[in-house]
Symmetry: C2
Subunit: 149 residues, 2 copies
DNA sequence: GTAGAACCTCAAGTAAACTTGAGATCAATT
DNA sequence: AATTGATCTCAAGTTTACTTGAGGTTCTAC
């Protein structure tokens, strides 16, 4: 149900162009499309064409991946974006706020791990039952019930 | 060429025991053995037996995994450990020092990502060619040539 | 001496995120 | 018209880190 006007078509990008400009392989773009992360329309000759907007979208996907968000979740988040128009700053803000939290969490976990690692360096305390490194669930369980990835 | 004395055998652990006490599945222990991460000897009835030391070793593997080190690299690092005796604090220190660096690096990367994300929240700058989030290689390339995982 | 739990091996399956390959079509150029 | 490069589809392969299953053996306990 996406509306496309003449101007958009005019500026349309081919897969090759998108690949080069976004830095991902053509096969990856095919793959993302199959997974529902991005979309395109076709020319009379069945070739993909993308709105210029695709470049930002792919950039967003790459950022999310760097954070460590799995593609399925990215698909999910992206599907919450408005259909048919380019996401606005506000849309992007919602997305990034959610991911920002996950990033914070991830950083905190790694930082805790680092502290524990420092405590343990050279002390051999991994052999001790009470070692915090050895029993990470002491800390994880503080997050409450439910799955802790 | 590992020497095992009567006392060790005395305190030997079965796979089931190791699994329960280390928190990994029996199948995972089989798997780790095949990959060369851990080892065992066999009873007359062909069942695995482990030195008590296995528990620390598995703990070390799990810590390394939390840092994000792939198993192959862990195997590599562990193979540098002395054969036939339990690793000492010094051995463990060498290992953790190396991994500590990777952890630091990972944390720094994520922290940079977070800062950039903050800069970008709500500003829509992902659409701008110069956006640092969009062009992470500006920063990655500072790490020098070679593969950047 | 027999049931049931714990083990064994080996092959195959799983999930994520892609890549590769084969065979065919499209588009731009000479 | 013919060549060359870009695309297309669809299936199958790749890597990491395991898990699952089938079919068979060993241990422990009653």
């Amino acid at each position: 149900m996406t509306l496309i006007n003449a101007a958009d078509i005019d500026k349309a990008l081919t897969v090759g162009e998108v690949a080069e400009r976004s830095g991902v392989a053509v096969s990856t773009l095919h793959f993302y499309e199959k997974k529902g992360l991005i979309k395109s329309w076709r020319t009379a000759g069945n070739q993909r064409r993308y709105q210029r907007d695709i470049l930002r979208r792919v950039a967003v996907i790459k950022v999310a991946q760097r954070i460590g968000i799995p593609l399925a979740e990215i698909t999910d988040a992206l599907s919450a974006l408005p259909d048919g128009r380019s996401p606005t700053a506000r849309d992007w803000k919602r997305l990034s706020a959610r991911w920002r939290e996950q990033l914070d969490e991830r950083i905190e976990q790694l930082t805790m791990l680092r502290n524990q690692l420092s405590d343990c360096i050279g002390c051999g305390c991994l052999s001790i039952k009470a070692c915090r490194l050895r029993n990470p669930y002491d800390t994880l369980s503080e997050e409450g019930p439910g799955p802790h990835f």
